[in-house]
Symmetry: C2
Subunit: 409 residues, 2 copies
């Protein structure tokens, strides 16, 4: 355990990645109906083309486009209607020169035809023929075989987080059980002699436990499974016992509180003692979030984290390190940010990166980011924030009007 210097975020991420290099990411299969929000665990290839037949995108008449050349609204062409194709049924007849077939939206294009004239541009002439008042080029109003997904094509990549639209792609490709990453199991441990549960009235000097609730909600938001949660008095043997038990069941143990340099801070020494190799980062160059502890236990493949006691700081460190690591290990892209212009000048912190909470207001040409300046112990600060922007460690600060990337929270 090296306590001499703090790590930058980049350094601590690198150490985390190196530590978990051999950790196995388990995969499971879930039903399509249960796949929303899960992360696809292998590249998906379609054994068949989608659609597997040529479909019309409109209600109209399937024609040979060459039959409509030169046609205008005053010079129609008359075509023999040889079939009325019903939705969901195969087209039977082949369309020859001078022929056509009625086809509904989504209906199958018959052999011989290569385009569809919208019904609005056609007129029934007699029982067996129609007048067409529009010329169409080949492929018009037709979705070709494999135009949505080609046969053998990779159509969804490993690491894709499943949104409703991916549910649509999966169902169209007939993937009714989906290979997804098993969620990490997390044990949440909050320590502090001052903590009482949310449904109790705190006495003088006591406060209600916040971190357990916040970290449980963060876990739910980001797809971790809570394997256990503890609110402990600040006694070394209680923490030891809980961490030991957690290491048997969890991929990630997050201990909050007890990670500053105060007198009762057992977290670092407990995590270092129980883990093998133990703690590799004690302190990160981040405001807020300095008293962060990172470690690993190889035999049980458990990531060990000590988070700051301040709820806002605990949440940000959890997002920047635990969520980041999970995304990275499951090949996920970070979600898209928004962009805003700083409302005022903000100074950086010497030697540290700053995670600056901002409120977004509507400006004349996009969002204005107003920094939320509040003591880091205040919970309402975080609730007012729409997101955060990072001030890098070597940057003096942000200037009013400067465009910044805002990660939405």
């Amino acid at each position: 355990m090296n306590l001499l210097k703090v790590d930058t975020i980049a350094q601590s991420r690198e150490k985390l990645k190196a530590a978990v290099a051999e950790k196995k990411q388990a995969i499971e299969f879930v039903k399509l109906e249960d796949a929303l929000g899960r992360v696809i665990a292998s590249d998906l290839v379609s054994p068949e083309p989608i659609p597997h037949f040529r479909r019309s995108t409109v209600d109209g008449y399937a024609v040979r486009s060459s039959d409509t050349h030169g046609v205008t609204d005053s010079i129609p062409v008359f075509l023999e209607m040889v079939e009325k194709i019903a939705i969901g049924t195969p087209a039977v007849r082949t369309i020859g020169p001078g022929q056509c077939a009625y086809v509904p939206t989504g209906g199958m294009i018959p052999e011989g035809a290569d385009a569809v004239v919208m019904i609005e541009y056609c007129e029934t002439f007699d029982a067996d023929s129609i007048a067409v008042y529009d010329s169409v080029s080949a492929g018009r109003n037709v979705v070709g075989v494999g135009e949505d997904i080609r046969e053998e094509a990779l159509f969804l990549k490993k690491g894709t987080k499943i949104r409703p639209q991916e549910i649509g792609v999966l169902s169209s490709a007939g993937v009714h059980t989906v290979p997804v990453y098993k969620p990490w199991k997390i044990t949440i441990i909050s320590t502090g002699d001052e903590l009482v549960p949310a449904d109790q009235k705190p006495g003088p000097g006591q406060i209600r436990d916040i971190n357990t609730y916040v970290l449980e909600a963060m876990s739910e938001k980001y797809g971790f499974e809570v394997a256990g949660k503890y609110v402990l008095k600040d006694r070394r043997e209680l923490l030891e016992e809980a961490v030991k038990k957690a290491m048997q069941t969890s991929d990630l143990v997050a201990v909050s509180g007890g990670s500053s340099q105060g007198e009762k801070d057992h977290t670092a020494s407990v995590l270092d003692q129980l883990g093998d190799p133990g703690v590799f980062t004690h302190g990160i160059a981040l405001k807020p979030g300095k008293p962060t502890i990172l470690g690993y236990d190889k035999p049980s493949e458990t990531i060990l984290m000590g988070l700051p006691g301040h709820p806002a700081a605990a949440m940000m460190v959890f997002e920047l390190l635990a969520v980041w690591l999970y995304r990275s290990e499951t090949c996920q892209q970070a979600p898209k940010n928004t962009v805003a212009k700083m409302a005022v000048n903000v100074a950086g912190a010497p030697g540290r990166a700053t995670c600056l909470l901002v409120e977004l207001k509507d400006g004349p040409d996009g969002y204005i980011a107003e920094p939320i300046l509040g003591k880091s112990g205040l919970m309402t600060t975080l609730s007012r924030a729409h997101g955060y922007t990072m001030i890098e460690v070597n940057k003096e600060g942000l200037k009013a009007g400067e465009p910044v990337q805002v990660v939405l929270l």
Copy 2:
């Protein structure tokens, strides 16, 4: 039922709002642990100040700030230490002139003291006294009573969607059961003779059902509760039966397919017949999404929607109307957008608004939005999209380089 003209999105939203004006939004109470993603149903006021005692934000010594005036790192002041305050316990002694008390991070500030000097700037002199090498102003390193939430202050507004940070605020304020809106119950009905379930192999002319899965996922994403789902052959009596049943249990009935002008389109007439007053919008000036049907049944307080058959169009109309209406009725703000510059010129659609799907790429100063041009029947189109931007009905189009608001999907 007026079929003469289509409505703009604004008009159809106005009609929806008017239709549901007397619909009751039911409220329920959920445990704090189950509140993530739910929408707060009444303004929340704190009966007590948070914190309810003055807390230290650092490990250090609680002092009378006036005792430190003029102190520097070469001219210390010596103070008598009268108490060592433990975390979670009341401070007992009052700090008089020349006195101080040790206080840990989060600990209670004793009477008499008005600031805390960080431990780094203090030195133990003997058993009962310390040397202080820094001057502090009143309030320094102290969170005052009610500084996070004042007594009787409104701290979370009705309509707030609960994120992890709101969970934190709720737990700090001791709200362990939370008043939230009951989710709307939705029945999803997909019609079409061509549809087979996702786990079956479609024959010629048939395709797998997509809309039921997509709308179920959308419902889960936006917090609706699926009361029923049906995949029906395109027969009027089947649709009638399903809609009748749905109206008894659901707040919203979404029928997809069968809403264009084709031959088998019963949706509008069934919704109009079963609803009272029935259908008020048939067709909206939106690309894609024109064949949208909107109606209402007052006796059962059921919103009736006919969505386009194309999955991508169905999803967008659901987002722009059903999700919009639910947000509006539950006092929610729309989520924050991102901002991008158009990669190329894109034309609008004459007389219609366009919902343009875009892919976001990293540019030199923010995102570049590349329009995803694909036939609206293609599902992979929607899966490639990070979001969409609207081209208003009277706008000719978007110019390359023009900044646009992108709603993330």
